[in-house]
Amino acid sequence: MSKKHWLNIGYDRSKYPETGSDGNLIIDEQSHKLVKVWQGPNHPGVTGNMSVELTVSGDEIVEGKTHVGYLHRGFEKLFERRKYIQVFPTCIRLCVAEPDYNEYNLAASVEELGGIEVPETAQWLRTLVLEMARLQSLLRVVPGQGGTTGLGLGVQWGVYLRDLILDRFEELTGGRVYHMYIIPGGVRGLLPEGFKKRMKANLKEIDKFIVDIDNLMFSNVVFKKRTVGVGVIDPAWVDSFGIVGPNARAAGFKRDVRKDYPYLKYEELDFDPKTATESDIYTRSRIRWHDLKMTVDLIRQILDKMPDGGEIRAETPNVLHWKIPKGETYVRAESSRGEYGFYVVSDGTEYPRRINLRGPSYVHAVSLLEKMLVGANIADVANIMVSLQTCPPEIER
């Protein structure tokens, strides 16, 4: 990143702060050349309950530190004293934005360790629910990127359409945000009558939104000025930082768990995740817009291909007395943010020994964000954070 001031006022910014002989920045807070600013935990430009401690020289950031812990509920500790079925209502709170991936990962781990085969119809219903979760999340995130640059209109449209998808969730599962629909062995119910028709009508509205948001955001001059060439992720960082999902795809890495490690019914669906090379905020936002289009298409395919009836739950032992055989596994799924996985260890009792979540934000919002903030303008912090699609609850579990 250029060290020249963006207003081109003719002085060299590279001397603030100076670099020591060990190559590290000398951050001397007593010099009065630097100011400490906290962005968060209560700030409209912060994604959820976290904060970033910024050291700025003028309007340029010289150091950024992520602080989490404002939402720590000790979930991983609580799991250890709950039976597997009792973990479900707790684990969905690990990420508020897309709770269904938690249900799926836990159910898939328990099924793998317990040797349970999930019926065909249940697999289709699980695929549908996971794609609906991605859709409602992207309806918030895609226009949300415009929100960070002052373009609030798209957010309003997105929130309305997300509500329509939440209506479908309510119809199918009884819950709007938290569903607890995926359970060990299968799912809780079949599609209600008329669900497909109503879902397709909603998708039609979303089709219109996809065109509208393209016109509103991606050709908007202010949005382009604020995002093109800003917050660039170096492709070399993808492996060295463990970057996944749309953030990796925007840097030219075709990584998608649905394609690389197909689970549920994704092998029978036709889709192709887009990649790009520019790797700036604009490109990441564009990749998410393509993901939104792809998700709408995937839901249509699922609705057309899935059977109307059939077995939805495999027989399992009594879930309150179910001793899962000793062993361990790691199960992953592709959330809208990227690889989302559960590492589950069973000691052969009714209680899990350890359940550990691997959330994309653990990497994106801590080590990567701290790296990306150095040299950025203070006005771009919110923009960069939202473009990484961070979700703090999955960092502090």
């Binding site: 812990g69 709950r82 463990g242 596994t329 080590s367 502090e396």
Partner: protein, 175 residues
């Protein structure tokens, strides 16, 4: 996968192999060889993607199990590298030089399990629990209920139930 693991067995002293799925295998190795194995897998076998690192407390055996999960984006396989360290001397060699995000995992493990990684950046800074003054909370001997009772003021008229006992009573009262 099996041939690859067999080859790996010639180079490193692997004590236990567990084939979990066709693309997931867990290996157990001495703590002295972990850094070597991780560096070899990253540099020569294409395991470039560091998925996660965590600990499991086997208090009855007096050990912590450290698990590193690596993924090879080309081979499309996962390896879980497990190692055991003594609970009394909970210290492990840092691998923050291999992947940039590892320092965060190690910082969290120091805070939550009390496992030290000397030399890891900011390992002594608090990550989630600012001002924590008890034993590391993810250790099995940390009693959450006792801690809550001692720390938080009890409100009269409020009662708590053990979740599993409560559900059992409600659903199967006669059992």
């Amino acid at each position: 996968m099996k041939n690859f693991i067999k080859d790996l067995g010639y180079k490193f002293n692997i004590s236990e192999i567990e084939y979990q799925r066709k693309n997931l295998t867990f290996l157990t190795i001495d703590k002295e060889n972990v850094v070597q194995l991780l560096a070899y897998l990253r540099d020569y076998e294409g395991f470039k993607h560091f998925v996660l690192m965590t600990a499991v407390d086997w208090i009855e055996d007096g050990i912590f199990q450290l698990t590193y999960i690596l993924n090879s984006p080309e081979k499309k396989i996962d390896l879980g590298i497990r190692t055991k360290i003594l609970r009394e001397k909970a210290e492990m060699t840092t691998v923050h030089h291999l992947w940039n995000q590892v320092a965060t995992y190690q910082r969290e493990l120091k805070e939550m399990f009390g496992i030290d990684f000397p030399g890891s950046p900011r390992v002594d800074e608090s990550f989630i629990l600012e001002g924590w003054d008890n034993i590391p909370p993810m250790r099995r001997d940390f009693d959450t209920k006792k801690y809550a009772e001692e720390t938080f003021f009890p409100r009269p008229g409020r009662s708590t139930n053990d979740p599993s006992e409560y559900m059992k009573q409600k659903l199967y009262p006669n059992e």
